[in-house]
């Protein structure tokens, strides 16, 4: 077995080890992406509102 294969194999614990790491990775990434997206949406909504207001003037 090559060393990469044995690394991925994790001595037979591959499923448990890699699901633990994979899930942690997903949760940590989501916690960064979602608030950033929300902030963007917030600014977009307010900019739109402002443009509407200035058009009506």
């Amino acid at each position: 077995m090559s060393s990469l294969q044995s690394f991925l194999h994790m001595g037979g614990y591959a499923f448990y080890v890699w699901s633990a790491y994979g899930l942690s990775f997903i949760v940590l990434i989501l916690n960064v992406v979602l608030p950033l997206k929300r902030e963007q949406q917030f600014f977009r909504a307010l900019i739109k509102r402002k443009e509407r207001v200035s058009k009506n003037k």
């Binding site: 899930l23 940590l28 307010l46």
Partner: protein, 247 residues
């Protein structure tokens, strides 16, 4: 002194500070993560009892530590907001809850993924696991309160009270492995005089814990910044920001 507090405690300056600090904290976190993962997944030797399976420790233990630490930050920030009416403290408490819930969830799930091959079961209703599950419900309850109450000041107050009452659960989680006979193993790290873990396994664990700390610092600032924008959406400085963005 008070001027200093007034200046940096004001929502506007907090927003600017957050903009400045988040990239640095995030960068340090990334470097620590790379170091910790290399040390934990590649360099540390397999455990003599658990083989390669023990490597789950490097996400499980830091997550569990963070779940307790963030709760204490949330309760402290909540109390500060409650007593001194500091808006930034309210925003920090509110921003901490989803992060704390995430780490509690991760501690539970990675623990389950570790328990299955080592103990032969995904879950047992023992003291450590049950009290950690209660912690998750406390976080979720806090978040539900925040969404259920429209007025943000009232929501912050109600949340702070819930968080403070829930603090009683923290020492229960911490001491559960000593007070009750549980399947969960006792502390291996905190007895510093005779650590029962080899240095090559311990160092990556501490690096990972530090990485998670920086992660929390970066993301809580990011989230609190958004909470502040929401709070202040009609204030002059937010309008200014929008003008800049339009420009």
């Amino acid at each position: 002194m008070f001027e200093y507090f007034y200046k940096y405690g004001s929502p506007r300056h907090f927003y600017d500070l957050s903009k400045m600090f988040v990239p640095w904290l995030g960068g340090i976190c990334l470097i620590l993560l790379i170091a910790g993962l290399t040390g934990g997944l590649v360099l540390a030797p397999p455990d003599y009892q658990q083989g390669e399976g023990f490597r789950i420790i490097y996400v499980h233990v830091p997550s569990a530590w963070m779940s307790l630490f963030i709760y204490m930050v949330m309760a402290t920030a909540g109390a500060t907001g409650l007593i001194w009416k500091v808006k930034v403290a309210d925003a920090l408490a509110r921003a901490s809850a989803p992060l704390g819930a995430s780490f509690t969830f991760l501690a539970l799930v990675t623990g389950s993924l570790w328990g299955k091959p080592m103990w032969g079961t995904w879950w047992v209703w023992d003291a450590r696991l049950t009290s950690e599950l209660i912690l998750l419900f406390l976080y979720l309850g806090y978040m539900a309160l925040q969404t259920a109450i429209d007025d943000r000041r009232t929501a912050a107050r109600a949340g702070a009270i819930l968080a403070l009452v829930g603090v009683v659960n923290i020492p229960i989680i911490h001491y559960s492995v000593e007070w009750w006979h549980t399947l969960h193993q006792g502390p291996t790290i905190t007895k510093l005089d005779t650590p029962s873990i080899h240095i090559s396994m311990l160092v990556p664990l501490l690096i990972m814990a530090l990485a998670f700390m920086f992660y929390y610092a970066a993301v809580v600032l990011l989230r609190a910044r958004y909470e502040i924008l929401e709070n202040e959406r009609n204030s002059a400085w937010v309008c200014e920001l929008i003008e800049q963005r339009r420009g």
